[in-house]
């Protein structure tokens, strides 16, 4: 059995309650909130072997393992996190959490606002990457972790890793920023806005307060997810998997599902609209759009990163056009100019943006080698 087939096994989510108000970038204040998280592995006596996994747009705290032996799917990064895997739970204490504003157990728009007894809905404040990082730091305090051996994330998760290194330099030894960007491009924001418009214009959205109407803006969520999915795959990868394959072998001269790619996207969209909260989707895309650690420093990313004391691993994937290698190289360039230690890998892959969740061999080798270095440093 290869290392990559081992698992952390049966896991259980935990809740941490916080009643110190959290002041957000928008000037709104969350008086109290809860964060849902999971941990794998054992925190060593020196508390030096902790790793934080930050999730991307649709992720959550369930990073690895299963809740029950017959669960169909394991956690979203189970192929990378576990005993003997690159993020090795035999050596590291790994923490995954659901971000504030999420819909998987942490306080978000679908949670009950204690002040009203109703779901927050449209009144839930917009949260930013720095807001998340501050809430995550409180979770670290709660868990007794002064300094992360590494903060790791892909895509929006990579932005959180970068923000951690800037906002809490003394609390991050290594930041692994994968398939990410120093800020979104206009094109990238444009995709997010089309996804938001799909939700906002769905008649079942009810201005965000659809919970009381017992409605779900399913069509909007579905379209948002379908669009997103297209941008997470590469043209070649999609062609390889679906090509022009037809479900019934020949044209039907109608508008029902005919091509396999249509069937796949609709299935993904339907599945997503069953479990994901529309308001959370809006918040997550806004956090992406707003992320720009250089904004308050005259757009000087080097100045922003100069504050960091972490060492960095940056990785990108050749066929990723949503978070292209050029964007990762901007981060690398700024890190070099800021005199930071950085390793950069540009991984050959056909999997597009989704590649950060896949196991292309050089990616696994790079992760394994880098995290082995981290483990040796912290005596894990």
């Amino acid at each position: 059995m290869s290392d990559l087939t081992r698992s952390v096994g049966i896991v259980k989510a935990q809740i941490a309650e916080f009643d110190t108000p959290l002041h957000l970038a928008s000037a709104a204040v969350l008086p109290a909130y809860q964060l849902c998280f999971e941990t794998y592995g054992t925190l060593n006596a020196a508390r030096s072997n902790a790793i934080l996994i930050c999730h991307a747009l649709s992720g959550h705290h369930h990073v690895a393992g299963r809740y029950a032996a017959d669960d169909k799917a394991a956690g979203w990064w189970d192929n990378m996190v576990g005993p003997g895997k690159p993020i090795d739970t035999d050596r590291f204490f790994v923490v995954g959490l659901n971000n504030l504003g999420g819909c998987h157990g942490s306080t978000g728009p679908s949670s009950i606002n204690p002040a009203t007894g109703q779901p927050w809905g449209s009144s839930f404040p917009v949260v930013t990457v720095p807001d998340w990082v501050r809430s995550q730091a409180r979770l670290a305090d709660r868990l007794g972790i002064d300094r992360w051996a590494a903060v790791i994330g892909g895509s929006l998760g990579g932005m959180q890793a970068l923000q951690w290194s800037i906002d809490y330099p003394e609390r991050v030894a290594h930041a692994l920023v994968i398939a990410s960007a120093p800020k979104l491009s206009a094109q990238n924001i444009a995709f997010n806005d089309v996804a938001r418009q799909a939700i906002l214009t769905d008649p079942d959205f009810h201005g965000g307060d659809f919970y009381a109407q017992h409605a779900i803006p399913r069509r909007g969520l579905r379209l948002a997810r379908m669009l997103g999915h297209i941008t997470y795959l590469s043209d070649d990868g999609m062609g390889e998997k679906f090509g022009r394959m037809l479900k019934s072998g020949d044209y039907q001269f109608g508008f029902e599902v005919e091509f396999e790619i249509e069937s796949y996207l609709r299935y993904q969209g339907d599945k997503f609209s069953d479990y994901f909260d529309a308001n959370t989707y809006l918040l997550m895309t806004k956090a992406l759009d707003y992320f720009d650690p250089a904004k308050d420093l005259n757009d000087d990313l080097v100045a922003a990163l100069r504050k960091a004391s972490a060492r960095f691993m940056v990785a990108s994937f050749t066929s990723d056009w949503r978070f292209s290698p050029e964007r990762s190289r901007e981060i690398v360039k700024a890190l070099v100019a800021a005199d930071k230690e950085v390793v950069y890998g540009e991984i050959e892959s056909v999997h597009g943006h989704d590649a950060f969740l896949m196991l292309d061999e050089p990616y696994v080798k790079l992760m394994r080698a880098y995290l082995n270095r981290v483990a040796e440093e912290v005596n894990a």
Partner: protein, 200 residues
Amino acid sequence: MSANQTLRADLQLIADWVAPSSRVLDLGCGDGALLSWLNRHKAVRGYGVDFDVNNVVRCVEAGVNAIQGNLETGLAEFEDQRFDHVVLSQTIQAMHNTEQILVEMLRVGREAIVTFPNFGYWENRWQILQGHMPVSETIPYEWYNTPNIHWCMLGDFEALCAKNGIRVLERVVMNEAKRIHFLPNLRGSLAFYRVARQPG
């Protein structure tokens, strides 16, 4: 790699030219042997650059910070004068953009160290006289599979430097790990140059 492992002779010569605690950029760094040795013995700070992700992985295993990149497209990731030494070891003869990389090296660094197999070495000349392209320890390829596309001799490299306003600070020519002082362009198989921009 063990802490006491010795460097390959040609890399040792380069390492001897690097000042302690300096900033080093090693282009085409391979498995990171040079930087790893320099980190441990001279406390340098720096990065390796390599085209091959497997070499980036080997560098990480050796504790070296490597950045995957293509030297043919220049050194855009690096700002002007970031480094004390920029090293290009036995790679310049395999590059398309030979002149550009030389200029780029002295844009990002104060000094460049360039090494290459000397095409003027007598054994090469002898093989040509016999009617064949040279194949040797320093040139271990046949004409049809060689990555080496821009051959030069000592004088050729020095002329390229002069053309670009680059001055030679030091030159060493070696053959089988021995320094060659007499008739270097004939008796030396490997050339080492330390170069910098002309002042002013």
